[in-house]
Every structure is written in structure tokens, then in C-alpha cells.
Symmetry: C2
Subunit: 320 residues, 2 copies
């Protein structure tokens, strides 16, 4: 079994009443900086301010009444948890979210606001903990990326990009576990588009670059990244084969590049995004990724959940 | 003579090669805060990051070769000056900009970057100074608002709003001299749209509210406003009659409201705008203006030129 275009097309119809078709804008004021035609797909303007809601809703809407009655559980660095809590609230079901201790406070608050229960955990233990609780209480475990239902939901972004910008040449997608990347790549490639799909991950956490080079799933060390949404240390067994098959190239971005990208997008593009969303723009800006001046390049802006105080870390960044 | 719809329609064709048709977005994530359907017309994504370029280009493109050869002059709190400098560079002509001493440094830098000359002045003396220099050297004086060519250029925003959101109910426009407001109101009313057009100005500088109440142009005292783009102390003799004729209502916004609006737009809407652009959203958020929950309300986001350090003044603002 794998992810198919038809799964993503069905997801699009299924989640439409619960999610937004987000804007895709051309940002002319970024073009002198990035050296190509610049487009952004604004999932930071999605409900819950991140793409995660798409995958969560596609999963929840396929659960049986019995499953819904028992409730759902997930582990999350924040945005997936927020989507779980919001989705559960919309459907009136119970939700439990295991949140790693490194997640920003305001992300935890949003989960609680929607009425979900939080259980503290660590990046390393989060999946084990939720598996155990799911088994014990009969909760449906909703993985943040390694689940075809979730990937199909995230893949609807790919369908929207092709509709909003049919002649897109390059699509850059931030990668943590690779769920959104697998979904978009499947949507784009199986639609017959000639657009190239790129994954980008932190230089300090290159799980996909290493795994692809090794031609097998490889766990890497987290050398520390400011990108709090991109902290997965190993590709999923369901996402990796899709990435291997459909993703045209994989890149890394340094910490400096991500900060530059976030500040450029804010000050010149007038768009506020999470640092994790700035990985592609930053890497192109900092010449860590090369682009063709004639290309229409679409950057997927995955989320916009950050606290005002987090702007402090780009205060002294110079992007010019 | 006054401004006519046909002037604005002609301006639209004239300036198209030199300006952007900016996005109009629905911001779902602002709706629980503002209590209506929220739309924003994003002139902060215009070239030069403000609406001013439209009026400037519509004027420059109507000058004779002889006038172009002598050059142009303007006085400006920044955005008009930036547009003058950028427009002059595009056409390869000389430009001189008198900039008031209160304008932020980065705004002055942008004017210089485009090759224009800066002459320092004050808000009170700026128009006299530029008139004298224009007479002495034969420069074409380009007023920031009290000029039908400029108003016609800004009015193209109104045509775009009607095209992008034909069933818009309310349009809120920040007002300094009233050029953009006159242009938009003329475009909307003479197009036969039933949309209501509102002006909004700082509570501390209510030149239009006072003048409309007095039924004559009245100069008011500037009691101090953080809105550095809204510092005109008296309506223009060309803008005032148009505002009186076509604008449905005029409102004020407190300093607190403007800051709240800017922060809401940034943190929930993910859009960075100047404080002057936040006057309408802030006043609705702070209940200084009432809106109907069923209405489609469009806020004109006039500009996005601000320095990163200016975000400091909304650090402690609570918009919830």
C-alpha cells in the first residue's frame, strides 16, 4: 500500500468544509533578493495557522463512530497538536496531546484553549508514550506524518498549487517527518505536472539528506536547530519510499539562512511565518540553493504559529 | 473641475505597466476578533510597499517631455517621497524630495537609494518650501494628495476592490490628506456600487471629522500620533469636497486602537503593515467603530514601510 493521487483528491472533497483553500501569492518585492519569480503558498493563513489541520481532518473524518467515541491521541511539537485539538473540538470528541518539553508555551496554550488534554513528554519518547496510551485506552493514535491519511490531507496543498499556479516550475517544501512533502510530491507527480518538488531541512538535522544518500532510513543526531517545527530525527517508513520515488532534490539550510529567510519574508514580503517555514526561502537567499532566474518558484509557507517574543532572534539579522 | 470615474479608469490603463495589481485576501483568522467578514487590500505588497506609487505614476506619465527634462519635486513624510524617487528612476528623470525631520531614517534611506535628492524640512513648512523651489527651478511639483492626477491614481485601488470583491459592503480607508480616500470613494460611488466608504483618522488629529462637522476646511492641532503616515493637519481644497460628497462616514481611532490593530494583523493575520494602515482594523477591534456581523468589510492596508525596530512599540500591546 502507498499513497495515491485518488486518496488526495478524495481528501480534498472530504476536508473542504473544515479547512481553507489558502492564498497563493506572487511576492514581487522578494524577487530581486531571490533571483527568480517568487510565489508563496500561505498555510500560515490556514485555520490553526498551519497546514497540519488538513491531514488531521482527513484522518478524523474517516474514523468510525466507535473510534470517535473513544477519542484520539497524538504526539506533537505543537502545530499537529493544535490541529488535533481544533479538529476534535469541531467534531465534539475527546483529544489527548503529548507535547515535547521544548515546545513554546503559546503553542501549548492553544492546545489547551481548544479543550484538549496535554501530557508532557520528550522528542525521543513521544511516539512510545502515545502508542502505550492508545493501546491502554483504545484511543485512535494519529501520527503527525507517517500515516497515509495524514499525507493525503497534506497533499491537497499540492493540488491547490497546481490549480493556482499551473505553470509552476519549482516547489520547495520544508521537511520534518516528510508528510507534507510526500503528499505534495505525490499530488504533483501523479497529476502529470512537470514541476520539480524539493525538500529542505535544517543543515543541523539532515535526516533525509543522509537517508537518501545511504539509500535507507537513517536516524541522525539533532545538532540543534532553531526550527522548532522540524525536529524529527528519522524519516518515517511510509514517507521515506515516497520521498525517494517522487522528490526531485533534497537540500539543507543553515540556521543563519533560516533566520535570514524569516526576516526577508517579514520585512520585504510583509508575511509573518514560523522559522521552520523559512527554510527554503532562506537557503535560496543565502545561496545554499541555486535557482533559475526564469523559474516560477513556489515556497510552501507551512505555518505561522510563533510568539511575538520569538521575533527577537531575528532582530540583528541582516538579509541584504 | 473635479475627479471623475473616467480619470480613474484612464489611470488604471496608464499605470498598469509600472504598478502591481495587489492581492485582496479574506483573513478568516481575524473574523472572531472583528466580528465581520474580514478582507484586506494589500497595498503594503505594492512596489515601493505603499499605495503612493499609483498616484505618482499617473502624474509622471502625463508630464510633457519638457517638464520631465526639468525634473520633479515633492514634499513627503516618506512613502510619497519613496514613490517619487522610484518613479523618477523608472523614467530616468531628476527628483527632489523635501522630507520632514520626523520621518523614520529607513524611509529617507530608501529615497536616497533610488537616486533622488533629499532636502530636510518640517511638516508645517514643507509645502511652502517645495513651491518656492518649483518656481525657482521649473520643477514639476507633485503634491501628495491635493492633485486630481494623484487622486485618480490612488482611485485605481477602488476599481480593483470592486473587481476582486464585487459584493463588498464596507470599505475602510485611512485618511491623511484624503487623496486615496477621494480616489476610492469616487471609483466606488461613480461605478454605481452600493458599498459604503469610510474614512478613518487618528483621534489625536481629527482634521476631517472636525472639517466635516464645521462644513468647511478646518485646520486642527496635531496632539501627537504614532501614525507617521497620517500627519496632515488640514484637508486639501480639492480632496475635501470629494470626501464631503462621497464618503459615507468618518471615524477616529485612538493610539491604543492603532497599535492593537497592527499587532492583531501581524500575529493573527500574518500580515505586516505600517501603524497608519492599522487605523481601521484597530478601531473596529477596540469597538471604536461598529460593524455588522454579516458584512463583507474591506480594510485598505495602505503601506508596509517600517523598520524592524518599530515593532518594539507593540511589544506589550494586548489585542485579545
Amino acid at each position: 500500500m502507498t499513497l495515491k493521487l485518488s486518496d488526495i483528491q478524495e481528501a480534498q472533497t472530504r476536508i473542504a468544509p473544515y479547512t481553507l483553500k489558502t492564498p497563493l501569492l506572487r511576492l514581487h518585492n522578494l524577487e530581486e533578493y531571490l533571483g527568480c519569480e517568487v510565489y508563496v503558498k500561505l498555510e500560515n493563513m490556514q485555520l490553526t495557522k498551519a497546514f497540519k489541520l488538513r491531514g488531521v481532518m482527513n484522518t478524523l473524518l474517516q474514523l468510525s463512530d466507535e473510534q470517535l467515541k473513544k477519542g484520539i491521541i497524538a504526539s506533537s511539537s505543537g502545530n499537529h497538536g493544535h490541529a488535533i485539538a481544533y479538529g476534535a473540538k469541531m467534531l465534539g470528541i475527546k483529544a489527548i496531546v503529548a507535547v515535547q518539553d521544548t515546545a513554546p508555551t503559546f503553542k501549548k496554550e492553544k492546545i489547551l484553549e481548544h479543550g484538549a488534554e496535554i501530557i508532557p513528554t520528550t522528542v525521543e519518547e513521544r511516539f512510545k508514550l502515545t502508542e502505550d496510551l492508545a493501546e491502554e485506552h483504545g484511543y485512535e493514535l494519529i501520527h503527525p506524518f507517517n500515516d497515509y491519511r495524514v499525507m493525503a490531507g497534506q497533499g491537497t496543498i499540492g493540488l491547490e498549487i497546481l490549480e493556482q499556479l499551473p505553470d509552476v516550475d519549482q516547489i520547495f517544501v520544508p521537511a520534518s517527518g516528510g508528510g507534507i512533502l510526500s503528499g505534495i510530491a505525490t499530488a504533483v507527480k501523479e497529476s502529470g505536472s512537470s514541476a520539480k518538488v524539493h525538500g529542505v531541512e535544517p543543515f543541523n538535522l539532515p535526516k533525509y539528506n543522509v537517508s537518501l544518500k545511504n539509500e535507507e532510513i537513517t536516524k541522525v543526531e539533532n545538532k540543534g536547530t532553531i526550527a522548532d517545527g522540524l525536529v524529527t530525527v528519522v524519516p518515517g517508513d511510509k514517507t521515506f519510499p515516497i520521498v525517494e520515488k517522487y522528490v526531485d532534490a533534497f537540500h539543507t539550510a543553515t540556521e543563519e539562512a533560516m533566520k535570514m529567510g524569516q526576516k526577508l519574508l517579514l520585512m520585504e514580503g510583509k508575511i509573518l511565518a514560523e522559522i521552520s517555514s523559512s527554510v527554503g526561502i532562506g537557503a535560496v537567499l543565502n545561496k545554499e540553493i541555486e535557482v533559475n532566474p526564469k523559474d516560477k518558484v513556489c515556497f510552501v509557507i507551512t505555518g505561522g504559529n510563533l510568539g511575538f517574543e520569538q521575533l527577537d532572534y531575528i532582530k540583528d539579522i541582516d538579509y541584504k
